[in-house]
Every structure is written in structure tokens, then in C-alpha cells.
């Protein structure tokens, strides 16, 4: 009873208890992280070993399936070639990623602020999303030529829709009470947007950006398949036509490496910016 009679306000021992729980959680977290790393690593190493010995044991010809060691050798020996083709794909993916997502965010903002705009343009956005990117890519190459710009447009298109949908949801995911609070504070529309709507949409935005990070690489490679002489997509076609299987695999490895880099960058940015959700 003394606790309540004291006009002092802290809940008793709360911080101490919280510290204990925190320490326990840190320990659990660390163990989980080690497990989360070790278990998949073991699986990957085992699979690679099975692949290596399987290929050698059954004497699979190299142009059909190279052993991991062959791919590794190609990766090292052809690294300058791989890198020259890596950068164009990197630029296409990153630029397209920014253009597509920026457009999606701006249009989402317009949608949320003006229902008529949303009614007018959302069906078009859905329609664009239904066109397979492989079908539209040749058209864009025809219009824009085999250079960088066509690929940027292809990548933007593929990034655009998931971000648009998520961003619209995010901007609308403000609790009614938060809006009542803003009204009581006589906030303007722009204050509500910058201080409430935009921050609360960020978790939604980042889950869309994570999808876009990997699909943007797909877009760039598709663009290069349709018309390009440099880039990882072009190298994939070239090495498969020439039965250079080890180089093909190494190129595929580089492509997935590019996806990983983009995905990891978005995840790091998310951790730095969205600190209130776990």
C-alpha cells in the first residue's frame, strides 16, 4: 500500500525488471542469430559438396553442368569480364529502382489527397501491372532504342506497382485518433502529411522497396535480353549460346549477388530509418 500512498509516480522496480528481461532477451537473441546463421550455412555447404561430387561421379559434361569448383574458377578468371558487365546492370537496376519508386510514391500521395485522381488513374495502374514485363520490353526497346533509358523504364515499370499499392495503404494507415489529435491541434493538411501520414507510411514503403530491390534486377536483365550488348543479361545469353556453362553460372551468381546487395542496402536503410517497428 505504501506504493500507492507515495505520491511519487514511478511503477516500482519496473526499470530493474525491464533490465533483467532485456538481458535475457539479448542472450536469446544472440543464440537465435548464431543458429540462424549456422543451420542454413551447413545446408548450403552440404548441397555444394553433393553437387561437386555428383557431377564428378556421374561424369556430367562441363557444358551441361559445371561443378562448383569450375564455376568458382570461372568467377575468378573471368572476373574483369563479369565486372564490366556488372556495372551497366547495376546502374540500370538502381536508376530504375529510384525512378519507379519515386513515381509510385508521388502518385500514391496524389491518390491519397484526391479521390478523383485515384478513381481516374488507379485502373490504369492496375492495367499496366497486368501486362507481362517480357511482352512490353520489346516495345520499349523499339521506342527508346537499345540504350540505358529503355532499361530504366522497364525497371521502373516492374518496381512501380507494389510500391504504389503499399504506399497508398501506408498513407491511409493512420489511426482515426491520431487524426482527431491533429484536428484538436488545428494542424494543416501539410503538417498532417509531413508529421503523421508520411512517417507512418514508412514501414509499408520499406516492405515494398524490399520487393522492388530484387525485382529491379529481374527488370534490368529482361531488358538486356531483349536488346543489349553489355550487362549481365547480355552475358547470360552470350555464354549460354556459346555453351560456356561455367561462365553462365558465374554470371547468374553475379546477378543474384546484385540482388543481394540492393536488398541488403534497403534493409540497412530500413533499420536506420524505421526504428519503431521490429
Amino acid at each position: 500500500m505504501t506504493m500507492v500512498e507515495k505520491a511519487d509516480l514511478a511503477e516500482p522496480n519496473e526499470s530493474e525488471l525491464a533490465a533483467k528481461i532485456d538481458a535475457e532477451q539479448v542472450r536469446m537473441e544472440r543464440r537465435r542469430k548464431i543458429e540462424a546463421f549456422l543451420i542454413p550455412m551447413t545446408t548450403v555447404v552440404s548441397l555444394l559438396l553433393i553437387w561437386q561430387f555428383g557431377v564428378r561421379y556421374f561424369e556430367v559434361p562441363m557444358y551441361i553442368a559445371p561443378a562448383p569448383s569450375d564455376v568458382g574458377a570461372a568467377l575468378i578468371k573471368q572476373f574483369p569480364l563479369l565486372l564490366t558487365n556488372f556495372w551497366p546492370t547495376f546502374y540500370e537496376s538502381v536508376l530504375g529502382f529510384f525512378v519507379g519508386n519515386l513515381a509510385a510514391v508521388c502518385i500514391a500521395v496524389a491518390f491519397v489527397h484526391n479521390k478523383t485522381v485515384q478513381k481516374a488513374f488507379f485502373p490504369i495502374a492496375v492495367f499496366i501491372n497486368t501486362i507481362p514485363i517480357l511482352a512490353v520490353a520489346p516495345i520499349l526497346i523499339l521506342i527508346l532504342g537499345p540504350g540505358l533509358s529503355a532499361k530504366i523504364v522497364i525497371v521502373s515499370l516492374i518496381c512501380f506497382f507494389p510500391t504504389l499499392v503499399n504506399m497508398v495503404r501506408g498513407l491511409q494507415a493512420v489511426s482515426p485518433q491520431a487524426l482527431e489529435l491533429a484536428r484538436i491541434l488545428s494542424a494543416t493538411k501539410s503538417e498532417i502529411f509531413w508529421k503523421i501520414r508520411l512517417p507512418s507510411s514508412l514501414p509499408f514503403l520499406f516492405s515494398a522497396l524490399k520487393i522492388a530491390a530484387t525485382t529491379s534486377v529481374i527488370g534490368a536483365i529482361v531488358g538486356e535480353w531483349v536488346g543489349a550488348d553489355v550487362g549481365l543479361g547480355a552475358l547470360i545469353l552470350d555464354s549460354s549460346f556459346n555453351f560456356r556453362a561455367a561462365l553462365l553460372y558465374a554470371t547468374v551468381f553475379m546477378s543474384s549477388g546484385l540482388s543481394v546487395i540492393l536488398f541488403a542496402s534497403v534493409t540497412i536503410a530500413e533499420r536506420l530509418i524505421v526504428r519503431w517497428h521490429t
Binding site: 509516480l9 491520431a178 482527431e180 489529435l181 484536428r183 484538436i184 488545428s186 503538417e191 526504428r275 519503431w276
Partner: protein, 267 residues
């Protein structure tokens, strides 16, 4: 009853009126949420509002805080219209859910009201207590840089109270602020709220579902009744201040709760 109350206050005219409703009605389409409600809230008073669900308790707070317009009648806050009072930051609102912005620290959440509304002509009132001191007042010293998800439900609600006090409102509207908390935390925050009320002299309108909470906190309990929402009775709680939790186990206290429970059943 309510007309009598109004007449009395006007006749005696001693205590200035914080909020005054005259024949105020609120309608949502054809549904009447509040019907012809008249009452005066004296400055510095602590009113708790009880009533069955659908009696318009929350609606009444939203009417007073200019969130919902009156369909008819007149609502005045310190003689101003609700809109003028909102622009002048005469009142603050504490919601059931703390409504903190999850990306802002406790301190930044308390500072939010200082950053909004200038463009709509709000002159942010200067408080005699800084946001930091207000966090200290509600017992959150040392947690000012914590994000809301790092705080317990009770702590979050205390941040919300500090935020409500930052513009030094003269009227504090509270919509079941402790409804979602466990009993221990609730008792604790009740005491704390009484202390803040005493220190700041703010007028409080406090909606609750809990009869003991209504009696423990209030100088007067407004009993509303439903369909349509209107005033049933105003019960004076003649219990001494400062109040302590053990007051709840005394006979006078339970007489009030029993009386209110009876009233509530006949609503």
C-alpha cells in the same frame, strides 16, 4: 434537473464557467447521439462522466472539443465558441489509446503540440513547465528518449497526459484514458491525475466506464442516459481531498457507488 443546475450557477454566479452547453444536440444522420443537453462546468472542477454505452459520453467530449459540430444549441468554452477555444488551445484531449506517434521519443511526443497549428493562427501558449519538466511531473524522468514501444501501457498514457498539459490548457478532456490499463496501474494514475489537477488548477472532464473510478476522481459525477443521450443526474461526491486509495473501502464511498450503480441500471 439540468435546467435547475444552470439556473443555480447563473443565479449565484460565483464560479466562472469553463464549459457551457445550452440545449446542445448532436445528430449522425437520423440518429440522435445527444439530445438537448444543457449544463455548466465550473472552472477548476473535476467532473466524471458515467453512463451506459450509447449514451453519448465520448460524443459529448468530441462536441466540446470541436471534433463534432452541434446540430443545434450552443457550446461555449470560457465564453468562446469551440472553434475559437481550439485555436486558443484552451483545451486538450487525452484519448483512450495514448495516440503517441511511434517514431517520436517520449519527449518529442510531448513537444508535438508546440509544432502544429501556427499556420492556422494558433498562438502556442507559453507553459510555465517545459516538456522535460512535464515528463518529470508524470514520473517519467530518465525515459524521455524512449520510443513508445519501449514503454508500458501506463507509461505511454502518462506521456499522453504530459503532451496534453504542454500548452497549459484550462480544460482537460479525457476519454477513458485508463480504460485499457490494469487495476494497479490505474489506481496509480488516478492518484497522479488528482495531484496534477490540484497543482495545475485545470478543469477536467473525465469519461469512464468504471463506477469506482468515477466516484474516486470526481467532485461531481454526470450520469448520462441513452437513446437518445441526455443528462440523467448530477451526483455531488462529497468526499474529502486529498483522496487516497483506501478511501475506496470506506462506507461513504460505497454508498456513492451503490447509488450510481442503481442509477445506471435504471438508465
Amino acid at each position: 434537473m439540468s435546467v435547475n443546475e444552470t439556473a443555480q450557477t447563473q443565479a449565484t454566479g460565483f464560479s466562472p464557467v469553463a464549459a457551457s452547453l445550452k440545449n446542445a444536440s448532436v445528430r449522425f444522420g437520423s440518429f440522435t447521439a445527444i439530445d438537448n443537453l444543457s449544463l455548466d462546468i465550473e472552472e477548476g472542477a473535476f467532473y466524471t462522466i458515467l453512463g451506459p454505452s450509447g449514451c453519448g459520453k465520448s460524443t459529448m467530449l468530441r462536441l466540446v472539443s470541436d471534433l463534432i459540430p452541434a446540430a443545434s444549441g450552443d457550446v461555449r468554452i470560457f465564453g468562446k465558441t469551440t472553434e475559437e477555444a481550439r485555436i486558443a488551445r484552451e483545451f486538450a484531449f487525452v484519448f483512450q489509446d495514448s495516440t503517441l506517434l511511434p517514431w517520436r521519443t517520449a519527449l518529442a511526443n510531448v513537444e508535438l503540440p508546440l509544432e502544429m497549428g501556427r499556420k492556422r493562427g494558433v498562438k502556442i501558449p507559453l507553459s510555465d513547465k517545459s516538456p522535460m519538466e512535464l515528463l518529470e511531473l508524470v514520473g517519467l524522468k530518465g525515459r524521455e528518449n524512449a520510443l513508445p514501444h519501449e514503454l508500458s501501457g501506463g507509461m505511454r498514457q502518462r506521456v499522453a497526459i504530459a503532451r496534453a498539459l504542454v500548452c497549459k490548457p484550462k480544460l482537460l478532456l479525457m476519454d477513458e484514458p485508463f480504460g485499457a490499463l490494469d487495476e494497479m496501474t490505474r489506481d496509480h494514475l488516478n492518484l497522479q491525475l488528482l495531484q496534477i489537477w490540484k497543482e495545475t488548477g485545470v478543469t477536467i472532464l473525465f469519461v469512464t466506464h468504471s463506477i469506482p473510478e468515477a466516484v474516486f476522481l470526481g467532485q461531481k459525477v454526470l450520469m448520462l442516459q441513452a437513446h437518445p443521450g441526455r443528462l440523467k443526474e448530477i451526483v455531488d461526491i462529497d468526499l474529502p481531498h486529498p483522496r487516497q486509495i483506501k478511501l475506496r473501502d470506506t462506507a461513504p464511498f460505497t454508498r456513492y457507488t451503490a447509488h450510481l450503480r442503481e442509477l445506471l441500471e435504471t438508465c
